[in-house]
Symmetry: C2
Subunit: 116 residues, 2 copies
DNA sequence: AGGTTGTATAGACGTTTATCTATGCCATGG
DNA sequence: CCATGGCATAGATAAACGTCTATACAACCT
């Protein structure tokens, strides 16, 4: 229930996005715009302990380890995940603020408007 | 079944997002992953009459008319907007079902897990 | 210290993408 | 009809992207 509206932006249905805001938000959508990254993010976000080891993520794909590492880096740069090294392994965890911010933006698109 | 102690590499039994679903949803995010398209979608979604004429969208950018037309096409293919020709002009309107579906996905990322 | 395993970085390469100019396709109006 | 204006399609091109192999870095374990 932590929907702390951090006053990020107007809902889409009220006012168009400014150029800067659009660029910032588009970069997050772009990070989610790849099937591999979306699945990675999904696996991380739904990790039962709130975090997932890279060693669990890598074998889940038919891709090389550096490729997975690269995608995780992009997710991190987009602000969607955070990483922490504990010993040998690195754990990734979702950053709900970012996801919820994008969710709020999309949820504001409503269809009931100007009934003829 | 937390493996925090040492055994890290227990394979995830099931991916939260299936491969096909991820590809389908990623294609929508990809459409929103461009600043121009996001602004276009934003302008369309916030149109006071629920729809916006292309003739109003095109001059709002420093881009050629075919480029705008191309971006609108991608938004349409992603299921984010619909278009209708009325006489000389073409009007675009948002499809809230798609936007709300993506919003629901992102909103399901919540941080309250593994209390303290 | 040396070997082993997990993760990240570097560089290369083929594909996709965003943009342009040129052109085609409606629909309206002389 | 033919001309005009709005929008879409086609083809070209440079930049960005996803992937790979090779290698470097980091932490563990004898």
């Amino acid at each position: 229930m932590s929907n702390q509206g951090q006053g990020c932006c107007e809902p889409l249905s009220e006012a168009p996005l400014a150029k800067e805001q659009a660029e910032e938000m588009a970069s997050v959508f772009k990070a989610l715009g790849d099937p591999v990254r979306l699945r990675l993010f999904s696996m991380i976000a739904s990790g039962p302990s709130g975090e997932v080891c890279v060693c669990d993520l890598t074998p889940a794909f038919d891709l090389s380890q550096p490729t997975i590492s690269h995608h995780l880096k992009l997710l991190k740069q987009a602000g969607l995940v955070d990483s922490e090294r504990r010993g040998t392994w690195v754990y990734y965890r979702a950053r709900p603020e970012t996801a919820n911010r994008m969710a709020a933006l999309l949820a504001s698109v409503n269809g009931d408007r100007a009934p003829a």
